[in-house]
């Protein structure tokens, strides 16, 4: 089966600073790929490249086997993207934000769709509230709803659990599982290994911009992944304390 979303030899440099090297990934329909790794390993940069919002310095990003640059607008509309920033307007209400995005995506029955998604993320009682009064968790749930508005076949979720309480996490987990079962290709970036292991069919560990390990979650337990991840991150710390210069000095002395 052709991967819904794939990368081949993707690398990215900002000036002389190399952020990603030779990244090969595949996300198929009905699967969730979980990406994790230490801070600064290039996860967000890779997510922006997958979302077609950042050009890779080398390599290609493909949708259904086609380089996305062959039909950028059509492909971009197939992506539902949850980024670090909410991409919401504080002076608009939750419903107005969703209706605005539904409008520019050309979603039919905008009001009904907005209402349906507000119920899905348990924000229906707050639909008339301006987003600027929302807590971090409520804003995050509304961003999840925004990413789902146009029912895209590819979902890119960068740290979807950030700022969420236990019930919020469950809501977002249920949504991700439901979307995967509906045949969506889901790409998840998170520091929460437990949730990543629960949701993902494959886990990928990114270290220093390169893929360090891949795990099939059906055959590798959470404990094993966690132990290896700790070994990698401990190794990082040793390298810094031992004189490595990959981090700036304040971060290196914060252990």
């Amino acid at each position: 089966m052709t991967a819904r979303l794939s990368t081949e030899g993707v690398g990215k440099s900002f000036g002389t600073h190399r952020v990603l090297s030779d990244v090969d990934l595949e996300v198929r329909s009905g699967e969730t790929l979980g990406l994790f790794g230490p801070n600064g390993s290039g996860k967000t940069t890779l997510t922006y490249i997958l979302a077609t919002l950042l050009q890779p310095s080398e390599g290609v990003v493909k949708f259904d086997g086609d380089d996305w640059r062959t039909r950028p607008r059509g492909i971009r509309r197939q992506i539902g993207f949850l980024s670090h920033r909410a991409q919401l307007y504080g002076e608009l209400t939750a419903r107005e934000n969703l209706e605005f995005y539904a409008g520019i995506y050309g979603v039919p029955h905008r009001r009904a769709r907005a209402r349906e998604l507000l119920e899905l993320v348990s924000l229906a009682p707050f639909e008339g509230e301006e987003v600027k009064v929302f807590s971090r968790g409520m804003t995050q749930r509304l961003s999840v709803a925004k990413a789902l508005l146009h029912d895209p076949p590819v979902l890119l979720f960068d740290e979807p659990f950030e700022g969420l309480d236990a019930s919020g996490r469950e809501i977002v987990c249920d949504i991700m599982e439901r979307e995967r079962e509906r045949g969506k290709a889901v790409f998840l970036v998170t520091h929460d290994l437990e949730l990543a292991h629960r949701l993902a069919t494959e886990l990928v560990l990114l270290v220093d911009g390169t893929i360090a390990r891949r795990y099939d979650t059906s055959s590798v337990g959470l404990g094993e992944v966690d132990t290896e991840y700790r070994r990698y991150t401990e190794g990082e710390k040793d390298q810094i304390v031992g004189g490595g210069a990959r981090y700036s000095w304040p971060e290196a002395f914060c252990f």
């Binding site: 979302a51 607008r73 919401l88 107005e96 520019i104 995506y105 301006e130």
Partner: protein, 223 residues
Amino acid sequence: MARGILFLILKDIRLQIRSVDAIAAMFIMGLLVVLIFIFGFGPIITKPAEVAGVVIWVGLSFSAVIGLSRSFEVEWREEGFRAFRLAGLDPGAIYLGKVVLNVVMLLLVALVLVPVTLVFLDVLRPGALVLLGVVIFMGVVGLSAVGGILSAVSSQTRGRESLLSVLLFPLLIPALISAVKCTRALLVGGTLAGAGNWLRLLGVYDLIFLAAAFLLFEYVIEE
């Protein structure tokens, strides 16, 4: 494209109404400039119809700097431009949406600044008001067309309003001189006689900068 522009404009108008601060700052800045001119130089102005145009356009230009940078800053702050690109919106449509918003806001400011200037300087010419409206509209389109693309660049920076002023005013010189000349002709003689070339220059300026910015806007917001 038209649908995208419409939704962007409606969203921006709603944001302006709710947040108020941008439009209020534009009114205050414009009025302040106009009133300083009128009360500072009023007693020594012997030919008020000759200078009223200058007063109006200086006030509108300062208002434009404030409105333009605010209208783009919100999109950079919340990654609106990225969201619009993912929605497949044409970058030109995004640009036109912002230009229309700024034209509307500047026309609202002009609705206050122009009568205040004309009344206080006692140069009101009812017969020239329609043509004056046309000149104001064309000048405001020029301000918004150039300011739109420059503020998209400058609003990503920390000193966005000062950078926008540095970039904007040199490029605005042809539009501002044309607009002032046309306004002066109307307020002195009641017609555009003698200012036809200035009006044509203003029209050509608007078209060139609208077209160029429409085509170049993609490179401003793509990363």
